[in-house]
């Protein structure tokens, strides 16, 4: 609990509190890996159990998928740039790149919502079969994480305008940066093992 503040190094690591929180967040990400892995395991086991609903191969569209993926990949990149700007001490850089990230995230969400509605029209809903339950839960949990992330970034942007860059605000941005990249990692696996494999098999 000491309030000693270091004089050098990135702002977010200067206080003990910052270092502890960042470490704690990494551990949380470890737990998140397991959380998503459980969903992936369920998905894998229930694969093919579509009952009377359409099969994934019939519904998945390569075009939407690629757009969504590029949006999220790019947002992960812009988020990285934002943190880079933060470390250079640029409030403006941080804010602007973060806003770009946010917009890309929103775009991704929009496509995802469109996609889900489309599937529902085709007769694939959470209720239609074990396979679709696991699909919507896996993709939906990721989507929910993105939504929370967007809300969180918005709150932080407000705090940034109120307080500028302090060890505490920069710690918060650093942490959400980790979170955002992590969601990208999860998406890569959804992209690969749900969509691509779903279209191949």
């Amino acid at each position: 609990m000491s309030s000693h503040e270091l004089k050098t190094g990135p702002l977010e690591y200067r206080t003990e509190e910052g270092r502890l929180t960042i470490l704690g967040f990494w551990i949380f990400l470890g737990a998140e890996i397991v959380l998503f892995a459980t969903l992936f395991a369920t998905y894998a086991v229930l694969f093919g159990r579509t009952a009377d609903a359409p099969s994934p191969g019939e519904l998945f569209e390569a075009k939407t998928l690629m757009i969504m993926t590029f949006m999220l990949l790019t947002s992960s990149f812009t988020c990285g740039i934002a943190i880079h700007e933060m470390r250079r001490g640029s409030v403006k850089g941080l804010r602007n790149w973060m806003i770009v990230t946010l917009l890309l995230g929103l775009g991704f969400l929009g496509f995802e919502i469109y996609e889900f509605i489309h599937y529902a029209h085709e007769g694939a809903t959470l209720q239609s079969s074990a396979y679709w339950s696991s699909f919507f839960t896996l993709a939906g949990t990721h989507g929910l994480h993105v939504t929370l992330g967007i809300g969180w970034v918005t709150l932080l942007l407000i705090q940034l305008t109120q307080r500028g860059l302090t060890p505490k605000t920069s710690r918060k941005f650093f942490v959400i940066g980790l979170y955002w990249h992590f969601l990208d990692v999860v998406w890569i696996f959804i992209f690969t093992s749900v969509y691509l494999i779903g279209m191949v098999v």
Partner: protein
């Protein structure tokens, strides 16, 4: 990621470029190539793991000196990965017997035999009347 003062974040740019490329390769392999399904799956899963690595090392700086060489973050990611493998592979290993308890094998034969049987039964019954 030692120098944070650099203006151009080269590492991020390389990472971004790589991740886009790998994604395209994966999509191509899955949708366009005529590899066998098995090799597609192995290949694109490998690509996904590499991409995860890119995010971790180039964007998330798991091992940057400020987090003491990322000893603990790295550890958590590693063990998380191990657990993810246990979960997915273990579930498949122990659960996918499900439909092959018997259904592929003689379970179906049983069923067919049974159907024949009852058909016969039916016919004898009919002739009996």
């Amino acid at each position: 990621m030692t120098d944070h003062k650099k203006r151009i974040p080269t590492q991020h740019i390389i990472g971004f470029f790589l991740s886009i490329t790998l994604t395209l390769v994966a999509a191509w392999a899955a949708l366009q190539s005529d590899l066998s399904v098995r090799w597609i799956i192995i290949g694109i899963m490998a690509l996904a793991i590499i991409q995860a690595g890119i995010q971790l090392f180039m964007f998330m700086h798991v091992v940057e000196p400020e987090s003491q060489g990322g000893h603990i973050p790295w550890n958590m990611m590693f063990h998380g990965g191990v657990l993810a493998t246990i979960l997915v592979a273990g579930s498949l290993f122990t659960m996918s017997f499900g439909f092959s308890h018997d259904h592929d094998g003689d379970g179906h034969n049983q069923q067919e035999q049974q159907e024949e049987h009852s058909e016969m039964e039916d016919s004898t019954e009919h002739s009996g009347h």
